[in-house]
Symmetry: C2
Subunit: 343 residues, 2 copies
DNA sequence: GTCATATTGAGGTGCGCACCTCAATGCAAG
DNA sequence: CTTGCATTGAGGTGCGCACCTCAATATGAC
């Protein structure tokens, strides 16, 4: 039989009450007693029964995902994954919700974060662009005891918060390697398109991409980043112009998760030229384009995994446990038509 | 407050005892009562508290991984992942163990499986080559109430068991696409090497690989599969001979997870020719070779995920719950030097 | 020594459920 | 009507722990 707290008390030569104080880090415990308990735990291999703990505490966890309001397909997917997790975790008495808020104004985001009632929320996973105001707001949340996860976004990493997402430099490098190898020996230019280059993740992906192209594919040249600002007309204009001025364009790399606008513009303007196309994130659009062989490869991070990972981390932190690093690393996936695994 | 079984009894107009009988599928319940309970569950949104259930049942789960005894690096990795899971699940009162048994003789495997005491084990995840004897033994295990998972292996899928692993045809196709695109326009031959072509997964990968090469890369020709039988000398011989007879070989595809023997033979014999190399499974060897740029791409299925997935499935089945399909699909990963994410 | 404070012990309650027993009801066949 | 069986109800116990109270002891300062 597995040892219980009672066995532990006996082994430590202390009363259940004292053992309880040690286990739950309550005050009025002498260092001597704490040590005796720690030793006894080692000696008899005591492990708290998580079910009993959960039952006795009878606590409900409250976690919130804070994501941009703009409705691109990747975000839609993300939201639906959060909903899935919400359902799955109802049994475990943990409330999961997603708050979609406009991200254009950092002050607004910061205000939203500051207004979070830290009594009503145990953890928040925040997907927001880098900005000092947001960083400050996150710091204050941490100080108020809320477990914060920097979620899939190009914020500078805080050391008082966990990060869930891929290394965007490596993701860009992966895109560069795939693009370079797929293009083959043919020299030419690579068009790089982003929704905006203000986002830190776009910058990092671009740096990673260029590092590989420059080092390993000297016959290729990646053009300056085009920005669409999510505006179809503008996208059509700048992309059309770039393709016109660079008839030796052999590939397109879309940095942002929203690939529909830029790629539609590309296909409208390309005039039958065969282009190697690499984009980011699996969406209904990119999935279909992979199947139709209009995109060659997609570099992705699984939103379902990201959501579950963020939740596991927030849960662990709430319980003062260390999350299992090996399980929580989000991988940089390379998706081709062949390994899409649509069911 | 979340409704308890007591609330449910009240809502159903029945006693706690009857509700308990319904919830735990005990005998002596009229269909009428069962229906009343089901309705009440819907109406008040009752969910059993898993912590309370676990505590009251106070059951320990016993799951066993049955894997080949031969110690290639992928298996070592797998075993160590099982050990990791064992540690992580000690808290949840579930025992996890790995049994390594020789797989060369199907009768022996079948005998081992038949000898499993179904009172002492709740679930087994079996990684064994396809054979009628093994299939029968698995069927009998299922009939005796053991939850069976077909694990990472090329067995024909049983419908009374779950499968954890990738679609090997798709994995082969992915390898084919990567190889074809990485080779580029240069025509030539592709050498295909396996430890043995007796294994169903090797056959499926080969079929997937060829389907892509034949359809999309007509300038490439994949050679008949070479078999090493895990014998270095034999590998050196057949590989050297093949390379000698096919000076226009441009790529090597290693079907098996054990890539060290065949690739060492290739590198010994290749004589400076630049070859595109695609292999399966992440191992210390393949990882290092990716970093050294001696392998171009690795098609992998994460053993850690596979282990955790198998455990979640066996756990769900033991609790008469349906596993969440969306979370349990093992992905076909494409690993390059750039997205290895060594920490 | 006395007092104040820190530390420990004993014991109880309840979390939500599974599992058990025993009595009480219903219902049908005879 | 009685007998037999299926169904239901009432109630208790225990799973392992958190959290609480109150008393008992230890430790220190003075």
């Amino acid at each position: 039989m597995r040892p219980t707290a009672k066995d532990l008390a006996e082994a430590a030569g202390l009363s259940l009450a004292t053992v309880d104080r040690v286990l739950n880090e309550r005050p009025n415990v002498s260092p001597k007693a704490a040590k005796k308990v720690a030793e006894a735990i080692e000696r008899i291999g005591f492990i708290r029964n998580p079910a009993a703990v959960a039952l006795a505490r009878n606590k409900t966890y409250r976690f919130r995902f804070v994501v941009p309001a703009s409705g691109d397909q990747y975000l839609d997917e993300l939201i639906s994954r959060v909903g899935e997790a919400k359902e799955a975790l109802r049994a475990e008495s943990t409330d999961v919700e997603a708050a979609q808020i406009p991200m254009s104004d950092p002050h607004h985001v910061a205000k939203y974060l500051s207004a979070i009632d830290c009594e009503a929320v145990d953890g928040v996973a925040v997907m927001a662009p880098e900005s000092p105001q947001v960083r400050d707001a996150l710091m204050r949340l941490v100080e108020r005891g809320v477990k914060v996860v920097q979620f899939l976004s190009g914020q500078e990493r805080m050391q008082s918060a966990d990060y869930v997402g891929v290394d965007n430099f490596a993701a860009g490098a992966t895109a560069g390697k795939i693009a370079g190898r797929f293009i083959g020996a043919r020299p030419g230019k690579i068009m790089v398109v982003a929704e905006t280059m203000m986002a830190l993740d776009s910058i990092q992906r671009r740096l990673g991409f260029d590092s590989i192209i420059n080092a390993q594919f000297p016959h290729l040249q990646s053009l300056p980043s085009l920005e669409t600002y999510a505006d179809e007309k503008r996208a059509g204009l700048v992309i059309g112009r770039t393709l016109h001025h660079n008839p030796d364009t052999v590939a397109v790399y879309v940095l942002s998760s929203e690939a529909r606008v830029p790629l539609t513009a590309v296909w409208n303007a390309q005039g039958g030229r065969p282009l190697t196309v690499v984009a980011h994130e699996r969406t209904p659009f990119s999935e279909q384009a992979l199947i139709d062989e209009r995109i060659d490869a997609v570099i992705a991070q699984d939103p379902g995994h990201a959501v579950r990972s963020a939740l596991r981390i927030m849960r662990a932190r709430s319980d003062h446990r260390e999350p299992l690093a090996s399980q929580e690393r989000i991988r940089i996936e390379v998706l081709l038509k062949e390994n899409l695994q649509v069911e």
